[in-house]
Amino acid sequence: MKFGSSEKAKVIRGKVSSDTFFRVFSERADRIVCYGLLGLILLFILYPMVCIFIRSLMGEAGITFGHYAEVWGKYREYLFNSVAVGVSTAVLCTLISVCTALFIYTRNGKLKLFLLGVILVSMVAPPFVSSLAYIQLYGRRGWITYRLLGLSLNPYNAVGVVLMQSISFVPMNALFLLGLLARIDTSSLKAARDLGAGPSEVLRDIILPLLKPGIYVTLLLSFVRSLADFGTPVIIGGRFSTIASEIYLKIVGYSDLETASAMNMFLLVPSIAFFFLYRHLMEKTGMLSDSQRASSEPFSLGLSKCRLMGAAVAAAALLFFAVMILQYICIFASGFMKRRGHGYVFTMEYFEELMRYDLSTMTRSVIYALIVALVGTFFAILFAYFTEWRRLKGRSFFDCLVTIPYMIPGTCFGIGYILAFNHEPLKLTGTGIIVIANMIFKQLPTSTKLCTAAISQIPRAQEYAVRDLGGGRFSVLRDVILPGLRPAFFGSFSYNFSTAMTTAGAVIFLINPGKKLAVFKLFDAVYSGEYAVASLISMLIIVIVLVVEGLVYLLSLKGEKRNVS
């Protein structure tokens, strides 16, 4: 692991001496930070994975590959199911995400803010409650499908899984693509228009090619996330099973950690294969042009004039927004409605019940989520800086490693942590640290992708400029990288915070009776059939997340202004 030779510490042309001292010092700190980060990644990602692997080899009489043989013999079909669902979800979800992002990108003013708001809200998808709303709306007796359209569709199958996964992955992807779109130099779009290109040509020949790397990232993340997602197939898969839902069943139904571990290893095969395909594509494409980040004034593409393409984009986006808005209306309404015979009546009963709930866990959730969001984003920025900007050797390996937590179901990543950290000198079970660390590393793949994409858009020339003016690495980091990462920081922070507030799969095994999180209140309500209360708790979580994100957004705006002035 050496750094690129061009970046060997340079002695800088005689400037202020204290600066030189700081620079020498910082070169050393630089190494420490880099190795520290990589060390943490090895400890909190590789080591638990190794523990899972070892467990998969454990038989009654020593080491055996029997579990692998069993999985291949019995569950091969599910592996194919997983891949089929993964590919369909990745394609469908990417299509909707691109349309949604383009649609928002081409709006202005209040409408744009509103649409962005919807995206932010829908990133806070409380587990279970969203799928309940989905069934309530589109199930066999759904409000929309049955009562409105008179259809009785059965959502409990592979199609249901693909649709629901696609919809729930869109907000994150769309936000990511929007970040890339916002950095496109609009003057080149204007130039194209001035030279006579129609809106659809601009879209097809400039915008989409520029989005290509973003599309690859979206495809990868959706595919891998779909493979590892056990919640959706468990809830609406019906008789349809994937490897992830079978792993869940092995753990919850049979407590068979060995077979579950072996299944995880199988799951990693398509994920890692896909990952390397993605890296290959990325290397071939490179990120957005090395253009100077110049004009970003609003540019009206006039999507409506794009004829067929524009209409398709708008239709897909509007459909997505309609689904999202309906879903949240449904969750909200469930909190205030009570069944009476065939109909519903308004009630404040559940709201009053919520007021009686002990919500002290909410404070802990917010604290944990803040730590996860800050530290996770910080790690992601550093990781992106070292791997993407400094071209650290072995970055392919580390990039893959960092993506692994995304590739396996959350429950297993949690089990891996228990296996890894249940004895001295690394006994973390029962502490809050293990929960926080698990969340940080589970979410690191997405944050690092966000930051890497943003960092690769920063023109190298800016670094040379700083260097020529006598600036050291820290100056580059501070004056070039960090300002360029501001949108990614916000994206990563929001993602980490909202996911940490709602995540459950990985954490269920790590949480200690004394250190519960708000999401368990939600679970408890769901399990005891109190959907109304569950809906209200989710609304509360959503409101808290939005308030915190709003504050962070305002802070980051303030920072930007200060920077400009």
């Binding site: 409990y156 898969g237 919850v252 049979y254 069944r339 249940n422 820290f474 501070r478 009776p513």
Partner: protein
């Protein structure tokens, strides 16, 4: 200046992460309101000992302190544990987890359990945990008053209640579909119910595992398996969560659910078109376990809790009230103030010892049956 700011920012982030963790431990270490009396009630045995005859035995209980960590099936038990805290000074922390999750967690922890007491969940998981050597033996005098069939002969687990199984029938739907309300297990095989019955996968649901094992015991292996093969044709799908049948029927998705029945379910469906049917050819049932984890941090407090619970009928009545179940009458026949809401004659004859020993074989065979129609 700005460089230092950046370095400072990094340091601050580190600090925040550590402060966050330590403030968290401080929070849990601080006594809660409920336990302010902790120091004063250092001799818990005296207070509760009065109920049992041999108070001398009970007073030998070592002094209890600290926190007892409990994994339970629901948070509703908090009032019962509050009472325990009040009487013993032991603070209780409660987390709800399904029994399968508990077992997986225990196995992963490799002998360092992060909880002390296991409260509730299908008995098959407790039997399996006993076989794995994960449970602590608990012996106390009042145990002799508990019916033999509902406790482990060596004291590794006890029963805190009994779950019974019935059908939930959405009558608005059956009317619409033009089908009759089923009255027995054999009725469920009727062709008209095709794709309208939901049950949970017996691997995840202790209740539905009881259905399978009890019917196999009652019908005999051959006939029993034939039954489930035919039933499989009518099952829409096997839920991967225990509460699926209840949810699917109450949300008008499917007409019939094979589900646990308790007063909580009764309350949920009150005022709706959903009816509870107790099958005429017998009700499967399963005890809910209580056990202490071996090698846990506060094993003494947990052992004392088991004794405390079963030795004092007030505690049991409180439990029955929370659970909204009356099966405790069967577990401790001498108890007064709890009456059975059903005739025990309609409970199926079950040999519980087979629940644990046959589990793997039964589930494997069941998995094969379910698989036959996967993706029909």
């Amino acid at each position: 200046m700005k460089k230092r700011f950046l370095a400072g920012l990094m340091a601050a982030l580190m600090a925040v992460s550590f402060a966050g963790c330590s403030s968290d431990t401080a929070e849990t270490a601080a006594p809660s309101e409920e336990t302010t009396a902790a120091a004063e009630t250092a001799a818990p045995a005296e207070e509760t000992g009065e109920e049992t005859e041999e108070s001398s035995e009970a007073s030998e209980t070592p002094e209890l302190s600290g926190t007892m960590k409990v994994v339970a099936t629901s948070e509703d038990y908090v009032t019962l544990f509050d009472k325990f805290t009040e009487e013993t000074g032991v603070k209780v922390e409660l987390l709800s987890m399904s029994s399968g999750e508990v077992l997986s967690k225990l196995r992963a922890e490799g002998g360092t359990p992060s909880a002390d007491l296991w409260f509730g969940g299908g008995i098959d998981a407790f039997m399996s945990a006993k076989d794995d050597g994960l449970l602590e033996q608990v012996q106390f005098d009042a145990a002799s008053e508990l019916a033999d069939e509902y406790k482990d002969s060596e004291g590794y687990w006890y029963s805190k209640g009994i779950t019974i199984v019935g059908f939930l029938v959405n009558e608005a739907l059956t009317e619409e579909l033009g089908i009759e309300t089923p009255g027995s297990w054999t009725d469920l095989l009727d062709e008209s119910y095709q794709g309208e019955i939901v049950m949970s996968n017996p691997a995840v649901s202790g209740t539905n595992y009881a259905v399978v094992n009890a019917l196999l015991q009652t019908m005999g292996d051959e006939e029993g398996w034939n039954y489930f093969e035919s039933l499989n044709n009518n099952i829409a799908y096997y839920g991967k969560r225990g509460s699926d049948p209840l949810n699917k029927v109450t949300s008008d998705e499917f007409a019939i659910g094979i589900s646990y029945i308790d007063r909580g379910v009764e309350a949920t469906i009150e005022g709706s078109d959903i009816a509870i049917v107790y099958p005429a050819d017998g009700i499967p049932w399963v005890p809910e376990g209580v056990a202490v984890f071996k090698n846990s941090e506060n094993v003494e407090a947990a052992k004392y809790f088991v004794e405390w619970l079963f030795s004092n009928d007030d505690n049991l009545r409180m439990l029955a009230d929370i659970d909204k179940k009356d099966g405790l009458k069967l577990i401790k026949p001498s108890i007064e103030g709890i009456e059975l809401g059903y005739d025990t004659a309609i409970l199926m004859k079950e040999d519980l010892s087979l629940f644990g020993s046959e589990r793997d074989a039964v589930l494997e065979k069941f998995e094969a049956i379910m698989g036959d129609k996967a993706e029909a």
